[in-house]
């Protein structure tokens, strides 16, 4: 049972939690700067296709990974033009970005459905992977998973220890005060939005390059929305984001495995699990009363002076 079901399940948990982790961290970065970006689902989808396409044409998955990040960054830039430059409504712009992004990836992706692209395959870390149980769960994956172990730590150090990170936090909390203190609020918001978009894009890239290794339709499958919900669950903290991402990775992996075993539970009911869990996670976070940890100026545009 342990060797045949639980350990593979936990290993699959880490793998399927990884794209959600990238995206959640990206959205935390964005929201830390005070911008609500509901376009994550569309951004991940576009990034997944960009990564697939770049990897297929160049034969190099690393270029694909980078292009996924850049696609996320470009999509975030669209959100920035609408909300930061033109002061459009952040909620509606994010929704529009999702509709646009899902359409875009489908439009370009349809001719490629089922086609493979060079991706990342498992790469066991020599010593660590021979640790009993833990080695199988954490250290027998592709390299993008290992990168995702480092990012939350780097993220935390960046936010709490660097002046740029602290400035971004200040702009998310009180842009007027930050401006008065000599910080370039608008520019800092752009930095947070674009950096977050890049991370979200990496999450999308993971889906096509390491999760499926081929292009299929609807690859993001609601993971972008789950990431947005996890930001609330994580109280805007990277450490809890890791926990949340693996929780969802676990449910997704479990649900797939139950289907594979062939239970009597209809697959549509099993597929509901991650979405139902999202609602419960939100209820739980609200019950713990930590929704108030949100950056104070989240979702509110910076008005031009005068």
């Amino acid at each position: 049972m342990l060797e045949s079901f639980i350990v593979p399940l936990l290993a699959a948990t880490v793998q399927s939690g990884t794209p959600i982790l990238y995206a959640t961290l990206g959205e935390i970065m964005t929201e830390k700067g005070g911008i609500l970006n509901l376009g994550v689902e569309g951004m991940m989808s576009v990034a997944a296709f960009a990564a697939f396409f770049a990897s297929m044409t160049t034969g190099n998955p690393w270029i694909g990974f980078l292009c996924g990040g850049l696609a996320g960054l470009l999509m975030a830039a669209v959100h920035g033009v609408v909300c930061i430059s033109c002061l459009g409504n952040q909620v509606v712009s994010g929704l529009a970005l999702t509709i646009f992004g899902l359409g875009l990836s489908d439009f370009f992706g349809t001719p490629f459905i089922g086609q493979p692209a060079p991706g990342f395959s498992a790469l066991s870390i020599p010593l660590l992977s021979s640790i009993p149980i833990l080695g199988k769960i954490f250290f027998s994956h592709d390299i993008l998973v290992y990168i995702s172990f480092i990012i939350p730590i780097a993220f935390m150090l960046f936010m709490n220890r660097t002046s740029l990170g602290l400035a971004i936090t200040a702009v998310g909390e009180k842009p007027a005060a930050a401006s008065a203190a000599g910080l370039k609020s608008v520019r800092l918001r752009w930095v947070a939005l674009l950096a977050g978009g890049f991370l979200i894009g990496l999450g999308g890239a993971y889906l096509s390059l390491a999760y499926t290794h081929l292009w299929t339709s609807n690859l993001s499958g609601g993971r972008g929305w789950i990431a947005v919900a996890l930001v609330i669950f994580a109280f805007w903290r990277p450490g809890r984001a890791v926990f949340g991402a693996y929780l969802f990775g676990g449910v997704m992996a479990f649900q797939l495995r139950l289907q594979a075993i062939g239970t009597h539970i209809p697959s549509s009911l099993l597929l509901m699990l991650p979405y139902a869990l999202t609602v419960f996670v939100l209820i739980f976070s609200a019950w713990r009363g930590r929704g108030s940890d949100a950056p104070a100026h989240l979702g509110i545009n910076i008005e031009p002076e005068g």
Partner: protein, 352 residues
């Protein structure tokens, strides 16, 4: 920016609104045509085919009018919630629950006469969808659960529930294994108006639009919704029942989306099958925002986007363009309208 800076206008520039919408349409169509070009198709041909399908033939006009019915109803509901800054993104799921409620009644009482069965389907779909919208409303009020995400997740759950029913207990035994229910009995079908392809759902649409306009314009509750939309604090100071209003707008918007689902299953599809879900609930959000949340403009915008959908179907047939082209256009139009709207409130002035 280069010697100019933004400044708030003293009064919003009202004449700018139609200019922004037309500009956004032109820009979005241009950019989409470029996408066709990238895919190796003639951009000009594409636009012509799109125009043909949208406005170029009488069948197209009729098709668009049919499609605008569910979009209009969903959008009307979304708009009343948006007015209060309650972000109901769940029209898609509420639409699905409406189709389920109507189908339940149609399958349970197939032999009742139409004058009993149709009202029953109307009530079942309205109640079920209103309940589906009531859940996020209560979660928002009692626990401050973000309604954007809860309504979205309920969309996914509702669509999977629909799948579960048509793949399982409601599956037609004579359906050759296809996931769909048996065809509705004639008394469960909303009939056509005269000899046209237009059905009586259209009349319901007009009545609903008119009722909504009158409600927002003349009733006290309609006025309170407008005030509550100005912000939570304002609502508090003016002693409004903020919670009650939130539940009201959610339940009303849920019921409207549900009736859209009822009309679509009964009058157009005549049975429940997964293909009844084609994203009207998401298009409704685009429509509501294009129409600046006003019932009359929602009618115009719903027709416009319905026509666009028909045009894209024509593109699919004639030039094998993926259906996703429609979503690209919708997303682009909404993004450009949002970006363009800043000229209504701000102007450029020379730096001194």
């Amino acid at each position: 920016m280069l010697g100019y800076r933004l400044q708030k206008r003293d009064e919003p520039w009202n004449w700018g609104a139609p200019i922004v919408v037309v500009g956004a349409l032109v820009f979005s169509l241009g950019l989409s045509a470029l996408l066709l070009k990238v895919q190796g198709k003639s951009a000009l041909d594409g636009l012509m085919v799109l125009w043909q399908g949208s406005f170029g033939a009488s069948w197209a006009l009729e098709d668009a009018l049919l499609k605008s019915i569910p979009i209009f109803l969903c959008s009307l509901g979304v708009a009343i919630a948006f007015r209060m800054q309650v972000w109901n993104i769940g029209a898609e799921g509420q639409f699905a629950l409406g189709t389920i409620g109507a189908t339940w009644a149609a399958l349970t009482f197939p032999d009742s006469p139409a004058y009993i069965l149709l009202p029953l389907m109307f009530i079942a779909s309205g109640l079920l969808s209103a309940f589906w919208a009531y859940i996020p409303a209560v979660l928002k009020l009692k626990l401050k659960v973000n309604e954007i995400i809860s309504t979205l997740m309920l969309n996914y759950i509702a669509i999977l529930l629909l799948d579960y029913l048509v793949f399982g207990i409601w599956k037609d035994p004579n359906g050759y294994g296809f996931p769909m229910t048996a065809e509705f009995s004639p008394s469960a079908v909303i009939g056509q108006i005269g000899d046209s392809r237009l059905h009586w759902g259209f009349v319901f649409c007009i009545a609903a639009g008119f009722a909504m306009w009158a409600f927002l314009r003349f009733s006290r509750l309609g006025y309170e919704i407008k005030i509550a939309g100005e912000g939570f604090r304002v609502a508090l100071y003016s002693r409004l029942n903020f919670g009650g209003l939130t539940v009201l707008v959610m339940v009303v918007s849920g019921a409207l989306a549900g009736w859209a689902g009822f009309i679509e299953t009964s009058a157009v599809v005549n049975r429940l099958q997964p293909s009844v879900m084609v994203g009207y609930g998401y298009t409704a959000i685009v429509v509501a925002w294009l129409a600046r949340l006003k019932p009359l403009y929602i009618g115009v915008a719903a027709y416009l986007l319905a026509a666009l959908r028909v045009g894209v179907e024509n593109l699919q047939l004639e030039l094998q363009v993926p259906a996703a082209f429609g979503s690209i256009l919708e997303g682009l139009i909404l993004l450009t309208v949002l970006a363009g709207q800043f000229i209504l409130t701000y102007k450029f002035v020379k730096k001194n």
